[in-house]
């Protein structure tokens, strides 16, 4: 896969179709991969990488890159393609300035899970199809099953279909029957007090690093409400829980109806807060109250929050359909 992508990227760069390539390169460790923009063949030869740890969603970078002169080649995974199409719908990216190569995805691995399984001193992790080969400073190498170390969001993947592309590498997948709302339902089944405890437990770890906001492909406002000094969410004073509640409710609300459920927020959270659960709660509610809707799936349908019908449910529905009292 990596070689095919590399070859195609070099071809398109050399024949002048694109000016730059948006893909991934290795960071400090082989499993610590960051998005990168390549502008020359040498850079691609040197750094270009694609493996099980290329998890970052690239579509948000295209907001800026598609405004530059010349085309940008972007490799988009299924998740990224949903986000890209959603950004197109919001007129945030210029489709004509982007050359999209869709890449098939069978789930990304989570290096933290490998570390948590007790393997110490990891030097290198190689992606070998279904297996991950871990090299440590103590022994030669250990082989692990990739499916045991998939990222949380990939365990209940909603779709393996790249929804928008100029060409595909690998075979395009299908929309899957996922059980992504299971955890949301489990929380709803708790009593109100237990839910409060659960979320305080999770949200109180928030260090307000804003990584969830910065990485989110739906959060593309140039001026964010949280950049306001008076927003009162930046103190992280050990006063009480209000700040966290406020920040996370508003963050999730601002992307409600536009969130494609790519799971980036949870992936980047340094405190491992399951932030996508808040987004999924909104998605679940909207599906239930206003009909099935998947953001980024197409360019025509109206998102639920900029739409209405005369006989929408009343807010008092929460008393019947909300979680346990």
């Amino acid at each position: 896969m990596q070689e095919m992508m590399k070859k195609r990227a070099l071809q398109l760069l050399q024949d002048g179709t694109v000016e730059r390539v948006l893909a991934w390169k290795t960071g400090e460790f082989s499993y610590d991969i960051t998005p990168a923009v390549f502008e020359s063949a040498e850079e691609i030869e040197k750094d270009f990488v694609y493996d099980a740890f290329c998890a970052a969603n690239l579509s948000k970078y295209l907001v800026a890159l598609s405004k530059k002169e010349g085309k940008t080649l972007a490799f988009l995974k299924p998740c990224d393609s949903y986000s890209f199409q959603q950004l197109m719908k919001e007129h945030r990216v210029d489709r004509d300035n982007v050359y999209i190569i869709g890449i098939a995805c069978d789930g990304k691995a989570d290096a933290d899970k490998i570390k948590d399984s007790g393997i110490k001193g990891i030097k290198n992790i190689a992606d070998n199809g279904d297996k991950l080969v871990v090299e440590t400073i103590y022994s030669e190498s250990t082989e692990l099953d990739k499916k045991d170390f998939l990222a949380e969001r990939c365990l209940n993947c909603k779709s393996r279909k790249v929804v928008i592309y100029d060409e595909m590498i690998g075979e395009n997948g299908e929309v899957l029957d996922s059980n992504r709302f299971d955890m949301v339902e489990k929380i709803e089944a708790m009593t109100s007090e237990e839910r409060f405890e659960f979320w305080q437990n999770e949200l109180s770890r928030c260090i307000r690093c804003n990584a969830c906001r910065n990485v989110c492909p739906a959060c593309t406002c140039e001026k964010c409400v949280f950049d306001n000094d008076a927003s009162g969410i930046a103190n992280k004073a050990a006063a009480n829980s209000f700040e966290e509640n406020m920040f996370h409710i508003i963050r999730a609300f601002h992307v409600a109806g536009r969130c494609t459920d790519c799971g980036e927020c949870s992936r980047v959270c340094p405190q491992h807060i399951p932030l996508h659960l808040l987004n999924r709660k909104f998605i679940k509610d909207m599906n239930e109250f206003y009909g099935e809707y998947q953001a980024g799936e197409d360019l025509e349908t109206r998102p639920p929050l900029v739409n209405f019908t005369m006989d929408d449910v009343e807010p008092s529905i929460v008393n019947e359909k909300g979680g346990k009292e």
Binding site: F196, F198, Q200, P304, E314, S316
Partner: protein, 146 residues
């Protein structure tokens, strides 16, 4: 020594739309209908003006309950404002409930300019609910406490 037992006096914030509910509150007043003085009315141009953040801010600054009143669906002065407000508030209330905030603390009621009696009755009921729920502890901000 006797410990003085203080009766709980809730703070209720009511966002009322200028065209219907605010006039409804006015009518309740001119009709001399009683409703508790704990209700603090904030006039907004339309129920749709109410940003979810307003509701959270009200709780932060010490409200024990927040109620949003607007024109009946279909009667909005701006034609469609309250339809959008209805969707937004449904989702917000559902999220608050999901986070374990007592669901009785938030409410939406449609009150027209002719429904002074309904306004007074709604406020009486709502204040009663809030008194039974007690002080807002789960969404309070200690820095804002007097």
């Amino acid at each position: 020594m006797q410990i003085e037992k203080k009766e709980f006096k809730p703070t209720i914030v009511a966002f009322c739309c200028n065209w219907c509910s605010y006039a409804g509150a006015d009518l309740a007043g001119t009709n001399r209908l009683n409703y508790p003085a704990d209700v603090k009315i904030i006039r907004v141009p339309c129920s749709c003006r109410v940003n979810p953040m307003f509701i959270l801010r009200a709780f932060q600054r010490g409200a024990d309950g927040v109620i949003l009143c607007g024109c009946h669906p279909g009667d909005c002065h701006y034609t469609t404002g309250n339809y959008y407000a209805r969707r937004r508030m449904t989702l917000l209330f559902s999220m608050l409930d999901f986070l374990g905030i007592e669901r009785g603390r938030t409410r939406v009621e449609w009150v027209s300019a002719a429904e002074g009696a309904k306004f007074a009755q709604t406020m009486n009921e709502f204040v009663e609910t809030i008194i039974s729920l007690g002080e807002n502890k789960r969404l309070e901000d200690l820095r804002c406490k007097k």
